[in-house]
Each structure stands twice: as C-alpha cells, then as structure tokens.
Amino acid sequence: MKRTEPGDTEPGRDCWVLDLDGRILYIDPAGLALRGSERPEGIVGRLFEDLWPEEHRQAATGAIAQARSGAIGSMQAPLASPAGAGGWWDVTVTPVIGAGGNVAQLLAVSRGSSASRLEQQFLVGQQQVLEMIATGVRLEEVLTCLVQLIERHAAGMLCTVLLLDDDGIHVRHGAAPSLPREFAEAVDGSPIGPRAGSCGTAMYLGQTVVVTDIGSDALWANHRDLAVAQGLRACWSAPILCSQKKVLGSFAMYYRAPRGPSPEELRLIETAARMASIAIEHQRSQEALRRSEERHRATLRALPDLMFVLSADGVFLDYHVRDTSDLLAPPEAFLNKRMHDVLPPALAESFRRAFERTLATNEPERLEYSLEMHGHPRFYEARVVRCDGDKILSIVRDITDQRRAELDAAAHRQELAHLNRVAMLGEISGALAHELSQPLTAVLANAQAARRLLEHDPLDKRELIAALDDVITNDKRAGAIIDRLRTLLRKGDISRKPVNLNDMTREVLDLAHGDLLARGVSTSTRLAAENTLVLGDRVQLQQVVLNLVLNACDAMSSTQPAERRLEVATAVADGFAEVAVSDRGVGIRQDQLALIFEPFVTFREQGLGLGLAISRSIVVAHQGRIVAENNVDRGATFRCFLPLAGGAGAG
C-alpha cells in the first residue's frame, strides 16, 4: 500500500547516531530532508525519543535501553511530515561496540513502513472493527473506531460517517471524532439532494462524489462558508449501501488542502463504506431482533395461555406460564420427562398423534381435552406446531368458562327442545282428542243403539240399518281426521329452498357440540363435495339430523367411553344426497327394525317415541326416505336420502 504522494521525499532510510542516553549525535542528510530541515542544529543534541509523538516515546526509550544492554531494540511509530502526508516508521536501534568491548554508541536506522506492514495493520484494525460489530458494541463506537482506523492511514486525513434517516431525506450524525464539532452539528439534520455537499450528494445519487476544492465546487454552495471557515477544503464521499443497495449513509474523507484522491484512497473510502454498511446493517438487524423479542416477551406476558416446548418424542424441554398454579404439576415434575410419564395415558396418546400429524404436514394441529385440576374438571384446547426444526410448541388455553357456557346453553337448548316437543304433543293430542271425540261418540252411540234395536220387537230394520250406516260414516269421518292430521304433520309449512348439505350437517354438529362433549362422544365426519345442495326446509332437516345424532348418543350411553364414536357422513348417489349417522352403540333388535319409525314406539326408557316418527314424516315430506340398519360390527346407522336441489333425482 503506497501512501505518499509524488513530490514527497522518497521514504528511504535515515540514519542516526546516539549516545548511550539516547541523545542525537548525528543525523544523515536524508533524515534531515525528511524532517524539512537542511541543517542539523535544531536536531543534534536533542533526545531521540522526543522526536516521536508522545504516545510512542516510551517505545523509543525501550528500544534505546534494549540496545544499551547489547541487544537490538526496535519500535514502530508514525511521524507526520510538514507536507501533511505522514507515515509509519520502523526503527531499529543497534549497539555500537567500542574498543573496550562495551557498548559505546547507538545506531538508529528508521525506515518508512513497508506496504505489506501497513496492509497488515489495516487488516488488524479491520478485524478489530468487525469484532466490535459482532460483539454488539454501540454503533457510534464502532463507526468512530472505523473512522480512526482509516484516519491512521494518512496524517491530516479527517473522516466522517453520516447516516441517512429512515425518512430517506435527512442526514444524521454518525461518527466524526476528528471533524470540528461545530461543522458536524451543522450537518446533522440537513437534507440530502443533488447539491448537498459531497456526502448529501453521494447519498442522493447513490455513488461516490469527489470534491477536490470545496472553495469552488458548486455542490458545496450551501455549506461552503462553514466548511472553509473550519479549514476544510477537500471532501470525497462514498455512499454506504446496504445489501439491497439502499442508501444507509456516507463515508467521507476530508483534507485541509484542496486535492484529489489517489486510486488507493478511493478504494479505501469504498472499503470503509462497506465496513460501515456491515456495522449499520448489523446494528439495525440487532435492533429489529431486539424489538421483535420485546414484542415476543410482551405477547407472552399478555397471553393467558400456557406454552410448552417438547421434543418430537414428547419430552418437555421448556415452558412458559404466568401463574404456576395453572400447571397440572410443578415444573420439576415434568421438565425433561416424557409426557407419557406425566399426562394421563389417553391424553399423552392424543398428543403423540397430534405431534405426528403436525410433523408430517407442518400444519398446526388442534386438540381439545379435559383434565382434573385441583379436584375440578377443566377444559383445554391445545394447538401444537413444529418449531426449532423438529421440536414441538404446544400452546394450551383454558377454555373451561367458554365450554361451561356452551354446556349451559346446550342444556338450555335441550330443555327448550323438550318443552317444545311436549307442547307440540299436547297440542296435537288436544286437537286429536277433540276432533276424534265426536265421531267416536257417534260410533259408540249408534253401535249401542243398534245393539238395543236388535232386542226390540218388532225389529225396526230401517232404524237398525240407519244406525249401522252412521257407524260406518262416523268411522270414516274419524279416519279422515287422522288423515288430515297426518297431512298436517307431513306438509306443515315446508319451505323448499336449496340447503347446503355439508353446512347444514356441520351446523347440527356445532349445535350438538356441547352434548357430544358432555357425553364423551368423539365425532368424525366424512363429507361429500362442498356445495352439494338439497331442496327443503333447513330447520326441519336439521331437526332430523340433530335427532339422529342425539339418538346415536343415547344408544352409546352404555358403551365404553373410548368406544363412543359417532360418524356423520354425507354423500351423493343416484341423484340423492345421503346423510348417514353411525353409532357404536347397542344396535337395534332385528324384530324392532321394522317398527322403529312408528309413532309412540320407543326402545329407550326415556323419550316419547316420536322423534324418529317425526323425522320420517319430515323426510317423507321432502320426498326422501329414511332407513335404519345395524352395522356389521357394532351399533347402527341411520341413513336419510334427500333429493338433490335441481338434480334429476328430485323429480
């Protein structure tokens, strides 16, 4: 690395003779020229160490002491030349042995530092800056260190780093340890632009700007007076670009005399700008990371959820909880333990399966369960998701209150439904009783009159025939009433609109959710293509499916809890939509299969025996049919066939 300019004295070697105290006895002409002096008077007789900058004097003293003891001493130190360009010098101090065999004098030889040496120093400095970046030293300190590293290259060079505000317009102070404070403060906050000094223009253009004379360059029109007043005359600035080529700031070199940069110096500016870019980007990403972590921590503080990190095979690795009393067991009882050893076996198994699925699909898995906590059952919802590669994050939420409200609502709904059914039955039976009582009265009265007429003598045959005719008439009348009632039940007020089969089914399962949970029934669905439409009354069809679902639950009340599985399937076949509800319950006795849809036939202890009869009349009113069959292995399946809306099968 060459650091002198044409016109400077060639950095050769110079040669000094010192006495044992380090006082200069002789200096060669080359040394004199280098120090801008032609006569040795001002130098000879002074202490050698006093020629060097203060912070290097101790090294000089040490080198002299070394030589005095008979060894060779050495030191490195910078020395500014009066021309402004300075450099580093390697100095060796060698003992000169006198006639008596003792050290008589000392010979000091100084050489301008070799290019490789400078480069090595620069690399060490660069390393230091990079280490500062890596260890998270404040940006301002890192940039200051960078500026000082570059400034060390040449005496009289002043460097600055300016940052571009997030707004992309305003300049912010970065680092300028050597620049007059007044100037640095004036620059802070000024806008960039096409004529905004070297730095503001470099940031604006995104390219290096070289101003060899601030005193005359148009780019400095606005800042010229201040710069010149502070003794700044040349400024070369390179933009600091991030990896996406966005401008982050500028790195600049100032000189106190008008001059242009050597190719060397231009390269150095760009190297410095790249290092500044690394520092700024690192600091910004650290800042972003810190903010994100802060948000993360705030989120954790705010969330009522419990969080667990587990290995893929189910060992608890970490947890987060606001209140440890929310935990099933104290942390030491589960951390680093397998969940199969901590959780109830069935639950651990559910989690294991959820882990398997989420690891296979990379999609979050959700499961609901209940646990005994402090003697009371509580309901939880867990969401598990892959994190940190092959680990599992499980977020557990206590949904007891929500679930209780749902259960209450379900109980309330059930009660209403029951009252409704009772009221409906009361109404039907009232109407039935009133309507039927008249013909029945007439039938009985006529029959009993006929019975008496037969005993009369003479037999009034005409009256007898009239009585029997009236029996027949009134019996038919009773039949007609029943027909009318049946029609009433069947037709009702059915609105015929397209109903989305799957939505309707899902709504029923939502409605029954609380019941299913309360009865420990797990549900699986197998649904037909979405947008399968049937024609009918949504509410009535839901009543049918809900009735089938609740019947299925009833049928499984004596089934082992683990076996209480309900399957609800929708399908399309032969122009009909099908809803099938399968249970794993007791099934239907063969001799009852034919009767099960008859009104007032019930095979349960509770119930009016009307549910399936009403279901059938609704389905029939929809021009569909409903059938029941026993499953091959266990339980029963009820199938409703409904005509597709607009389909050929509807006719």
């Binding site: 009232g430 009783a433 009133h434 009582s437 008249q438 013909p439 029945l440 009265t441 007439a442 039938v443 009985l444 009265a445 006529n446 009993q448 009159a449 006929a450 008496r452 007429l453 009369h456 009256e463 009239a466 009585a467 009236d470 008439t473 009134n474 009348r477």
Partner: protein
Amino acid sequence: MGEGLVLAVVEDDDEVRAALHRLLRSMGHEVRVFSSAEEFEADPPAVDCLILDVGLPGMCGPELGRRMQRRGAAIPIVFISGDAGPPRERPAPDEGAPSLAKPFDAEQLEAAIARAVSARRHAP
C-alpha cells in the same frame, strides 16, 4: 230404567246429535234435539232432563244452564264435552250437574241421566 223420560239434546255436531237421538230413543225415551243453545231457548220444551254439549258455537252449554237456573227453569242437566277444553267452558262444580267426556258409553249416559233426575227430585 223402567219408564221413558222426555229428554232434550243440545248438540251442534249433526252426527253426534243424530246418534244420541237414536240411542236415547232405543232406550225408550222421547227425545227432542236442538243444534244450538239459542234454538233451545227460543222454544224451551218441558223435559225431564237436558243433555247439553259444553262446547257449543254461540252460547256455550254452561251459560245456557246458568240462564235457565236464573229463570227458575231448573231442568236436570247432563253435560257432555268433547275435550278437557279451556276451563271457562267447563261446568262449575257447584252446579252439581253430571258431566260426561266424549266418547261415552250408553250405560254411563243412562246412569248420568238417572243421577241428574233423582238429584232434582230429591232436591228441597
């Protein structure tokens, strides 16, 4: 029942009215039939007992009974009704009249008539 009585039936249902007419005649009674309380009131016959439907259109059976009582025409009454019905249509218990729910048996009807008639006879 040894002797035939003179009975009136007030019943809006044609079939029921005809059937009761036939049944009571077969029992040996003389029967007059009316299809409403208003028709009965327009020309009240002298009868031993009135078989009165509760749920009549227009004036209901119990109301006819009360009006007759107020006029001092205290004919024994047997109420017949098709259903439990709203309470206001039911004869008040203090009216003491027998009440039959449709459908009823010939024997029940005969016993009710006998009870109504004898209650009246033994009344002070």
